[in-house]
Structure formats: C-alpha cells, structure tokens
C-alpha cells in the first residue's frame, strides 16, 4: 500500500529509524524504568528527564483491530489496522498494520512480533503472528 510517512524530527527520528538493524526501540526512563510513548521531553510518571531509547523484544499482543475497506487512498486493497500492546509494558500500544495474516485469522489477544517495512528513510514497525516464518 502507499504510505504516508512521518517527519524525522529530532525527538522521534530514533523511533522511526530503529528498524534499520531489525530492532524496535522505545524511549525509556532511566530513573523509574517506564517506557514513554509517544516520546516526550520527560517521564510522565516520575518527571525525570534522564531518558534514552531502549531495545524491546518486539513481541506484543493484538488489543483490537479493524479491516479497512474504504479507499481513503485511491486504489488501496483492504488492510488490517491494529492496536498492538508491547509485552514489556502493555499499556504502551502501537497503531500498526498486521501483515502476512488473513483478516479471518486475526483475533484479539493474538501474540505478534514486529517486522519492519522500509520506506524511503523510515522503518515502519508492523506486526505479524508470532511463529510465522
């Protein structure tokens, strides 16, 4: 599908390019261990400013999803949008696409893992069923 892409501004560039080496990273608070998403200038839990991107496993679960049929972008095929929670901190959810899976196979609670789609200078984190090749 055609992709509308994010701007690589200083605060988020690490996130959108993290997949270059196949690893998902989230902004992390070194003081209290909280993952902060979307990235911000301080930890909303403990208000520390000692923050740095940290690797996560890339494993998560489908919290909910929708199969989009409307051609918001002309010519697009049906695609699956999901909110995926990150296993290290399930209250962090990523809006993403589920790929290499048929819509009728998707269910809430499904374990998934990250795969990256490279588009221009961005690596979009998408998810596929855990255990898929």
């Amino acid at each position: 599908m055609l992709r509308l892409l994010p701007r690589l501004s200083d605060d988020v560039a690490f996130y959108w390019t993290s997949g270059e080496d196949g690893v998902l990273r989230l902004l992390h608070c070194n003081a209290c261990g909280f993952f902060i998403h979307p990235p911000g200038p301080l930890c909303p839990r403990c208000l520390s400013r000692d923050l740095a991107p940290k690797e996560v496993s890339g494993s998560g679960h489908v919290e909910t999803f929708t199969v989009n049929y409307q051609q918001w972008i002309p010519g697009s095929d049906a695609y699956i949008i999901a909110w995926v929670s990150i296993d290290e901190q399930p209250d962090v959810r990523l809006t993403t696409n589920l790929v290499d899976v048929e819509p009728e196979e998707v269910h809430i609670g499904m374990p998934v893992r990250v795969v990256f789609e490279h588009a221009d200078d961005v690596w979009l984190p998408l998810f596929t069923p855990e255990g898929a090749s």
């Binding site: 509308l4 979307p38 972008i73 949008i81 990523l94």
Partner: protein, 411 residues
C-alpha cells in the same frame, strides 16, 4: 481526582435563551458565513433580543482548523459581518468537544463578562467534499518523494492507513465485541433509530425508511462499521444564545437552564494510549457531570448523544450511566428503549447519522426543542403526558468529550 465541591455550580447561572438553525442540506453551495448569520439572526429573534443586545461570541473550532468545510467562519468574521460590539469573545478547537463553546459562554455569563453570548457551529463539509466523498483526516496522496511528511499525533496513525476517525472508532467497536459481546444487530439500532426519527425532522439529510436488513446489507467501511454507522457530511449552521438566568422571565418560551457541565479528561489524551479502549474520555466527562448535580440518570427524559459514529453513542449511554458498563448492547437491542416512547428517547431529530453532521450542535439544538415542547411530530411525551424536563447532551468521542445536563425552567 475531582475538584472541590461548590455550593452551586456556576453554570446554573446560564440559560439557553434562544436557538436558531440555518437551512441544512447535503450541498447547499452557500458560504459558511452566510449560513452562520442566518442561524444567528434566528437565534437572536428567538430569544426576543436585538442585534445590539449581543455582547459575547463563541464558536468551535474557529480559525484554520481541519479539513475543508469543517471549521466554519472565525468569530472576527461573524462579529464584523453582524456589526457586533462585544464584551467577550472566544473560539477554539481544544476543550470538552464541540460544546466547549457553549461551556465557555456559560462561564463567561456566570462571571459577568457578558450578558448574551452568540454561540455557533457551522459546517460546509457537504459542499467542500462535493462528489469526491469523505476524505481521511490527514488528507490523501501517495508516499514517496514530494509528498508532505507528517508530525504531531497524526504521525502515529497515518503511516498505517489509519487515516480516519472511522478506523480508530472501529477498533473501539471491535474491542467492545470482544469484551462485551456487542453485535452488529445491536449497534445497528443506533442507525435505525436515528433514521426513524429523521423522518419527522424536515431538515434531516436522510429520511427514507431504513430497516435492520438495509443496515446489515450496507457496504463495510472499516470492520465492524458500515456506511450507516458513519454520519452524513452536510452544510448547516446552528446557533444558540447563552444568557444570564435573570432574563428567563422575559422569554416567550421556557428557559433552558444549564444544570451541570461534564468536562473531565482523566485518562491519557490519546486514541491508542487511553487506558480503557472501550470508553475513553466519555467515561471521565460523564462521571464529572454527575459529580456536579443532584439529578441522576433516572431523571433524564431524553438523551441527545453524539453519533458521529454509532459506536460513540453506545459509549455515551454507558458513560452517562443509562446502563451499566458493557450493557449498552442489550439495552438498545430491539430498539424499544431508545425510541421516542421508550425509557430513554435518543437522538430524536435523527442525530448526525441521518439528520446530518452538524457536529454536536444539532444535538444541543434538539435538546432545547424537546425541553421547550416544540418538537411537533417528533415531540417526546413522557408517561402521564409530561413534556421532557431534563435532557442530557453529549459531544465528541475518543479522547475528546464534553457533556451537559439541561433542564426546562429554573431550578
């Protein structure tokens, strides 16, 4: 955490003294300013006032917000066009949903900053979209070189084709199906009820009968939402006059008093990060409204609840306590409870799904119509022949929500 209790919520010093609405249609081809002054002059006359009495103005969302046809004219344009001399003026797109403009006006009146505030919301989305259909929020266009990049909150959803609120709200609906067993047949009652009521609203966009079979046969937009779960873009302006309650006796119709505002947003202000994926900000706004009144959900005679998408209406039914959490599906099943003669007459002018996407203010207007007993063929009559005395109105969805309780006459 709630704010400290007050002896009397200040919003009760405010009434809606007049209401007005322009022509409403799919593609009227008129300017937003033209529609706005039509609604404004009607509302001023309805309140028994003259142009020179208006000393305040407020709108949602104001200047430069949203896709074409969404924003309506900014307040300086309306002030100048109508020759208003103002003590207070306000407009903005942030706050407790579209009705934030009414809330701001009520507080301005209560504080003595203004005496009669013209509040309006105008859309020309029907004309702006023409025959091209509804756009995604982020605009359309492909990827690759030369296409604008996105920052801000849209960057988290646009790259994944989640370009419309329809997509985000569909995921709330899907989660409700998973957690509570919501069915499409239950959800469809919001659309079918709206269409039934729209047939009695001369300004409604869609009035031809719609059965549950028609609903279930409609094309899917984004599962589980079909075309009839999404509201109908249109052109139209709605205006209300918010005045101090001490003029209530001067009106030739019942005053509509603002009994309580619901404004809280206690969870994260985000679609995908909000703690409860089945409720979002409506939960907080609803709870905070009931904290400010001695009235209870059982006192409400009619509910005008935001239906930009049908899922939002069932979220509001629970958030305002008309049924328990997760129980809105069974509550609306069969449609009897929300019909005009049901326990909770809902969206009696057809809502936005069939009445047209007047973006929150159509619902405020209809609450006033019902409380004043001016609904004509669609007037709600409560058991014992009683005209509604209490109406609940809700605007917004996802991380944006506002609600208020309106009463007939002064309490």
């Amino acid at each position: 955490m709630s704010p400290p209790p007050v002896e009397e919520p200040l919003e009760r010093r405010a009434i809606i003294s007049g209401i007005g609405q322009s022509a409403v249609g799919r593609r009227l081809g008129r300017s937003d300013l033209d529609l706005t002054v039509e609604a404004a002059l009607a509302a001023i006359a309805d309140a028994g006032l003259n142009r020179d009495d208006i000393d305040g103005i407020s709108t949602y969302p104001g200047m430069g917000v949203g896709t074409p046809g969404f924003g309506g004219p900014p307040t300086p344009d309306v002030q100048d066009a109508m020759g208003l001399s103002l003590n207070w003026h306000d407009g903005g797109g942030e706050g407790p949903a579209q009705m934030r403009a009414v809330m701001a006006a009520a507080l301005a009146v209560a504080a003595g900053l203004a005496r009669h505030v013209l509040v309006y919301r105008t859309v020309t989305e029907g004309t702006a979209q023409g025959t091209r259909g509804r756009p995604g929020i982020g605009g359309s266009g492909g990827g690759g070189g030369g296409v604008p990049r996105f920052g801000g909150f849209m960057q988290w959803s646009l790259p994944f084709g989640a370009v419309s609120a329809a997509n985000w709200i569909a995921m709330v609906g899907q989660r409700r199906m998973h957690e509570f067993g919501l069915t499409r047949e239950q959800l469809g009652q919001i659309a079918v009820n709206g269409r039934r009521n729209a047939a009695l609203n001369p300004k409604a966009i869609y009035t031809e009968p719609m059965s549950m079979d028609d609903y279930l046969a409609a094309r899917i937009i984004t599962t589980p939402l079909c075309l009839f779960d999404c509201d109908a873009p249109c052109d139209g302006s709605t205006a209300v006059i918010v005045s101090h309650r001490d003029v209530a006796g001067d009106l030739d119709h019942p005053a509509v008093q603002i009994n309580a505002l619901g404004t809280a947003l206690r969870g994260r202000p985000s679609w995908d990060q909000f703690d409860d994926m089945t409720t979002m900000a409506a939960r907080d706004a609803g709870a905070s409204m009931w904290e400010r009144t001695e009235l209870t959900p059982a006192d409400v005679d009619t509910a005008q609840l935001y239906d930009g998408f049908s899922v939002l209406t069932i979220v509001w039914l629970e958030a305002l306590g008309f049924c328990g959490r997760g129980e809105s599906g069974p509550f609306i099943e069969g449609g009897a409870a929300i019909a005009r003669d049901g326990v909770l007459p809902l969206n009696t002018a057809g809502g936005q799904l069939s009445g047209g996407r007047l973006h929150g203010f159509g619902l405020i207007h209809e609450a006033c119509v019902q409380l004043r007993g001016e609904g004509g063929g669609r007037q709600v009559v409560r058991p014992g022949g009683r005209v509604p005395e209490v109406a609940a109105v809700a605007n917004g969805g996802g991380p944006i929500a506002g609600t208020m309780l309106l009463t007939r006459g002064l309490s």
